[in-house]
């Protein structure tokens, strides 16, 4: 490692460890010595509260003149021991430190601390959700006293069912006041919604937000809770940990591609089949560390929703696969090559490849990506963040530019990790037309006029010279460019401006430098690499084909203007999880499997190809999309259907250069990661963190493959013409919304905002609109009734209209409209 190594002695053995490393971590990592802890967590600052990690500590005695270590007659080094035991968690390694973790004094101290903890902790392990994977249980078995001297009738009696919010419950009796949850929210998330209340034995966790525990990361506190004090509403009493099988998977909701673990068990509620009981984070220090958003954790119910499409539908009637396949084959043959496809980013790489093969084999050329909000994936492929990028490495001297994205709502894990970069001293710039949550963790927050993100970035040298200078001078620079408030052309212009900026300043083609984009869905980059682009979708809308295959793209739920051109398509073939409006229009609707029911890969926003595995029993007759599509191909004599997703990947890796060398075996490789959470669970304890499903593999950028990225001229989109009394309407993303993949998670429904539009206070005053008034937002051909929110979030002259909060679609891209009080 670094040249900053120091020698410390643990239990009479000398180890070389990096200077300044926390001693608990050093003992675990270098000496395989599990110093027991409750309050310490390697991702957070030590506080020395629980006193579980007490060890004997001393320093080597050195000759003051020569600096040589002094020894006794037997040649053993002389140690100056501290008179009292010290907490290992509050020590950092410096040269000549000596620790003893196995002496009687340490053994006694551990036993005493556990006895103290258990005097107030209830012994209701049989009904505790943590029982079986509980650090307190484990450490008591390992270090605790055999018998308690506490008289049971003296125990505290406290509330066992305190809802901290809609999603998390607190059992006050079980809490051991380690404060991990409070510190997680304060230090790592920045939403300080939890706090300690009272003092002494009455010290308790409370929430000080309204609504309670108002954060997108609350579920993580249940993972790091070393006892069963915090439980999720989702998993409460759902199963015992030893009954669960952990299936590695990938969060299907956003571009971060968080590694998750689906805990499954056979369940009567699901007909005795394997059912997802809970979602846990899975350690991948490159992607999501140990954290996942609440959407990833609580958004799994759609996979077994009763509303899922369960049988192929042919001409409006339930049918079977044989009929559906032969019908489709007939339709494709009769299309004379006028075939196109639009795919959503819920499709796995294998699905997309099978779709591409089917379309091209039948003479089709047009492969469109959905939604048509974000583009520029090709630029991410060219000058994206380099191989080996880890957002946790960004710190002092580095810079991050987030432009046209509300990262908290779009990709919460990126927001969490970039908040960390800001804390470590990185220069974080959040540029947007409006205030977003990420502003709280930014060094600079330039504002541009609504819809003019690309104009701003293209002219940043003039608009914000200071910011531009700082970004260019940074050691490492990551640009996260979204598409909020932009048209598709605007998005292209912004991405090109971002790419130009990176090329000009030389921040590309290496780790921790380059472009990222919060493309919607889990596989936005996969769409690009398999050849699906939003520009083609726009072309399909202009020139509708004879046969259109719509795969996991809920066009009509997303876009109020799509019906006009979809009506012109002669035949629609739909593949989807749910019978959406497109399926209703389609001649044939095929039920496909969700991410949980089959194997596959997604390519995340950092171009990491990651595997997910089969967890749940299939819904009805649904098939994996790749299988359904390749059976159609087989029926049409265009090659034999592959037997597995792995086989599709082999074929894909031979045909598509980006996937060269990708094999499932490669993707499922793991390595030892810091912090090491493997082993016998004595360290951080209790959860399914350990990554056994693979870290995935990053597709290198073309810049790294030796291609010099070319700067291209930015063609700035025309500025929106806003007439008198008109507003720029900015569509915004909300993390919790009513999209079909999230709607079935009813327990989060109380947290979904009722439909609203944000109005600037000055505009609202002019139009006599008050907070909470019902207003009508009129757009070309569309109008919606929502409540007005006058909270300063919208810039003057603009309305912020969040999407997917109603059943009626609102515009996907920036538009001009009017607002009136009802």
């Amino acid at each position: 490692m670094s040249d900053n190594m120091v020698k410390i002695i643990i239990d009479d053995v000398e180890y070389e460890v990096p200077a300044g490393m926390n001693v608990v971590d050093a003992a675990k990592w270098h000496a395989s010595n599990d110093i027991p802890v409750f309050c310490y967590h390697p991702k957070m600052e030590p506080v020395g509260m629980c006193r579980m990690c007490l060890v004997e500590m001393g320093t080597l005695q050195r000759n003051p003149e020569t600096g040589a270590v002094m020894t006794d007659e037997d040649g053993n080094p002389l140690v100056r021991w501290f008179p009292k035991l010290q907490t290992a968690c509050t020590q950092v390694a410096t040269d000549g430190m000596v620790f003893r973790t196995n002496t009687q004094a340490v053994v006694d101290a551990r036993e005493n601390v556990l006895e103290f903890l258990l005097t107030s902790h209830p012994l209701d392990c049989p009904i505790c959700d943590k029982g079986g994977e509980c650090p307190l249980q484990n450490l008591t078995m390992a270090h605790g006293p055999g018998e308690s001297r506490m008289n049971f009738s003296d125990k505290m009696k406290l509330d066992k069912h305190v809802p901290l919010g809609d999603l998390i419950f607190l059992d006050e009796e079980r809490c051991i006041q380690c404060g991990r949850c409070v510190r997680f929210q304060d230090e790592l998330v920045g939403d300080d919604v939890l706090a300690f209340h009272e003092r002494g034995r009455t010290l308790q966790i409370i929430t000080n937000s309204d609504p309670g525990f108002d954060t997108y990361f609350s579920g993580n506190t249940t993972d790091i809770c070393p006892v069963g004090a915090l439980t999720t509403a989702d998993f409460r009493f759902g199963a015992r940990p030893w009954e669960l099988t952990e299936v590695p998977s990938i969060d299907p909701h956003d571009a971060a591609g968080s590694n998750i673990s689906l805990s499954v068990r056979l369940d009567r509620d699901f007909g005795g089949r394997a059912m997802i009981k809970r979602v846990m984070p899975r350690q991948n220090e490159y992607v999501n560390e140990l954290w996942i958003s609440d959407k990833a954790r609580f958004g799994h119910h759609f996979t077994r929703s009763e509303d899922r499409l369960q049988k192929p539908v042919v001409d409006g009637k339930d049918s079977d696969w044989a009929t559906a396949i032969s019908t489709i084959a007939g339709l494709l043959e009769g299309a004379d090559g006028d075939i196109a496809a639009i795919a959503g980013s819920g499709m796995s790489n294998e699905d997309l490849f099978a779709l591409r093969s089917l379309v091209t084999a039948n003479g089709g050329k047009r492969l469109g990506a959905w939604p048509t909000t974000h583009t520029g994936a090709d630029l991410v492929a060219a000058v994206g963040v380099g191989v080996g990028t880890n957002l946790s490495d960004l710190g002092a001297g580095d810079a991050v530019l987030i432009v046209a994205s509300d990262l908290e709502e779009e990709v919460p894990i990126w927001r969490l990790r970039l908040k960390g970069a800001h804390d470590r001293g990185a220069y974080v710039v959040v540029a947007n037309a409006r205030k977003t949550r990420m502003d709280d963790f930014a060094s600079a927050t330039p504002r541009y006029q609504a819809g003019k993100a690309a104009h701003w970035l293209d002219g940043i040298d003039k608009a914000d010279p200071e910011v531009a200078k700082a970004l260019k001078a940074a050691q490492n620079l990551v640009i996260v460019a979204g598409a909020e408030g932009l048209t598709l052309d605007g998005s292209r212009a912004l991405m090109q401006s971002a790419a130009n900026f990176l090329i000009d300043s030389g921040h590309y083609g290496k780790a921790n430098n380059g472009l990222m984009s919060p493309l919607p869905g889990p596989n936005g980059m996969g769409l690009h690499y398999v050849g699906f682009t939003p520009e083609v979708t726009a072309d399909i809308a202009q020139n509708p084909p004879k046969v259109l295959i719509v795969a996991q793209a809920e066009i009509l739920s997303d876009d109020p203007y799509a019906r006009a051109w979809l009506d012109k398509v002669e035949t629609i073939i739909s593949l989807n999880l749910f019978p959406d409006a497109v399926a209703d229009m389609a001649a044939i609707a095929l039920p496909i499997q969700s991410f949980a029911e089959r194997d596959g890969t997604f390519t995340n926003g950092e171009r990491r190809v990651q595997r997910f595995y089969t967890a749940q029993g299939p819904m009805g007759d649904a098939l994996p999309a790749w299988q359904a599509l390749s059976r159609i191909s087989e029926h049409m004599g265009q090659g034999k259907a592959k037997a597995s997703a792995a086989a599709v990947m082999v074929m894909m890796s031979n045909e598509l250069p980006a996937f060269e060398g990708m094999r499932y075996r490669e993707l499922s490789r793991t390595e030892r990661q810091f912090p090491d959470i493997s082993g016998d669970d004595m360290y951080y304890g209790g959860t399914a963190y350990q990554n056994k499903g693979g870290l995935g593999k990053v597709i290198p950028t073309t810049a790294e493959q030796g291609e010099t990225p070319a700067r291209a001229d930015v063609s700035l989109p025309p500025v929106l013409e806003v007439g008198k009394g008109q507003f720029v309407v900015l569509p915004a993303t909300r993390l919790y919304n009513l999209e079909s993949t999230f709607r079935p998670s009813t327990l989060v429904h109380p947290r979904i905002m009722s439909p609203f539009v944000e109005v600037n206070a000055a505009d609202a005053a002019r139009l006599d609109i008050n907070n909470g008034d019902v207003v009508e937002v009129k757009l070309p051909d569309v109008s919606v009734r929502v409540r007005a929110s006058v909270n300063g979030g919208a810039p003057e002259g603009a309305l912020v209209l969040p999407r997917h909060l109603t059943d009626d679609p609102t515009p996907m891209t920036v538009a001009v409209g009017e607002i009136a009080k009802v």
Partner: protein, 429 residues
């Protein structure tokens, strides 16, 4: 003896600025600002003044820990006087407030601090109000604020009221409370004197009111002269707070090493009421170990080192006297309830230990205890000692350990000889 700290006994109305100025007031500060800051610290080192808050750490050495290179530094006056039986700081602030302010400014000058914060316990709101007025009066005379006494050195003095917690007398919890955080001790290192450990993460000196009130005298007469008072290890005078079963409770300022507990209790404080016998002495409030009032103890001199020799501490010198009628178990219970109520709850042994001790002592006092319960609390208290984050855990264990060591019969009187295990109930009941 003329008083150094309780000067109102010699000079009436010294609480008024004109009287204070007329009686060598602010001469110490004047002298200080004419010296280099490092010379002021050297003067304090020569005086060998030890902190009067309880720990007895040498003040000059504490000041010298402050890194001079840091631009922002603070002085915090610990006026959160909450130790049981201690009421000396209150008297100083009420009757001789300028001496404390002067002392704080001398300290501020010595470390080149940018501001002084006087952290008062919440109950001292009237004193805080009074101090605010006095600070303004001093400002009018150019003694506080910009360019103090024309020296070019500027320093602001602020008062701050706590919210009522014993633990905020602990310096790092005090700093947390002053910053608006939960009053819980911090992990050390970094220490308050270091960058990152003090108030708002800047190097900070935290000193007791009485300690700082000594500084003007030391500057005025010189450290060596001051060190002539008292013994070699305990220099100067000490304000002793006497309370409990004595005829004349109150504050007595004594030269260290010149008087014994016997002198203090039977001569100055007028002996025990109603001619009763003396049973025990708590030399440092509830937090120090109790000692039985034997002849050996009564003949012990009031110094840091002599108190150590009888296995107790002088601490903040809040001497509480218990007469022969007192049931020591009851006294131990009272002290335990105090520490249970005041434990901040941050670290395990103190939070759970005080709660558990209280439960068992209650049981003993109710007459439901067993002989083994006495050993149990002794052992539980021993387990608390040395394992906690701050000293409160040790303090909370002291009343139990020392009372059982010296007065086991008082405990066993409450339990019958029968030593069957108490009936055990199942968990979760």
């Amino acid at each position: 003896m003329t008083h150094i700290i309780l000067r109102e006994k010699d000079v009436p109305n010294i609480r008024e600025l004109d009287v204070y100025l007329a009686n060598e007031g602010f001469d110490g500060l004047k002298k200080a600002v004419s010296m280099k800051p490092s010379e002021v610290i050297d003067e304090m080192k020569r005086s060998n003044l030890r902190g009067r808050g309880g720990a007895g750490f040498p003040t000059g050495i504490k000041w010298s820990f402050i890194p001079q290179s840091e631009p922002v530094k603070y002085v915090v006056v610990n006026a959160d006087e909450s130790e049981t039986g201690t009421f000396k700081d209150r008297q100083i602030m009420e009757n001789n407030p300028y001496q404390m302010i002067e002392g704080a400014l001398i300290c501020a000058y010595a470390i080149q601090a940018t501001a002084v914060y006087i952290y008062l316990r919440g109950e001292f709101w009237d004193i805080a109000h009074d101090l605010d007025e006095r600070i303004e009066a001093a400002r009018a005379q150019n003694l506080v604020g910009d360019d103090i006494l024309g020296s070019g050195y500027s320093c602001e003095v602020y008062t701050h009221l706590g919210a009522g917690a014993y633990i905020c007398g602990e310096e790092s919890a005090l700093l947390n409370s002053l910053e608006g955080l939960l009053g819980q001790p911090r992990v050390r290192p970094p220490f308050p004197a270091q960058k990152g450990g003090g108030l708002y993460k800047e190097p900070t000196v935290v000193n007791n009111v009485e300690t700082l009130a000594n500084a003007p005298y030391i500057l005025r007469v010189g450290g060596e002269k001051f060190a002539e008072l008292g013994t070699q290890q305990s220099t100067g005078t000490k304000v002793i707070c006497v309370s409990g079963h004595v005829n004349k409770p109150g504050n007595y300022e004594l030269e260290m090493g010149k008087h014994t507990f016997r002198d203090l209790i039977f001569e100055m404080a007028g002996g025990i009421p109603d001619g009763k016998g003396i049973k025990a002495i708590l030399p440092s409030g509830g937090s120090g170990p109790i000692v039985p009032a034997t002849d050996e103890v009564l003949d012990t001199k009031l110094t840091y080192e002599d108190c150590q020799s009888i296995d107790t501490i002088l601490g903040s010198a809040s001497v509480m006297i218990l007469d022969e009628t007192v049931d020591i178990t009851w006294a131990a219970s009272k002290m335990t309830k105090f520490f249970k109520h005041e434990s901040c709850g941050k670290c395990t042994p103190c939070r759970e230990g005080t709660f558990w001790l209280d439960k068992v002592i209650d049981r003993i006092l109710r007459g439901e205890g067993k002989r083994s319960d006495v050993e149990l609390i002794n052992n539980v208290a021993a387990n608390m000692q040395g394992t906690t984050l701050c000293a409160l855990g040790d303090f909370a264990a002291n009343p139990i350990l020392a009372t059982i060591r010296h007065f086991p019969e008082d405990f066993y009187a409450h339990v019958d000889g029968d030593d069957e295990k108490a009936p055990v109930k199942a968990a979760g009941d």
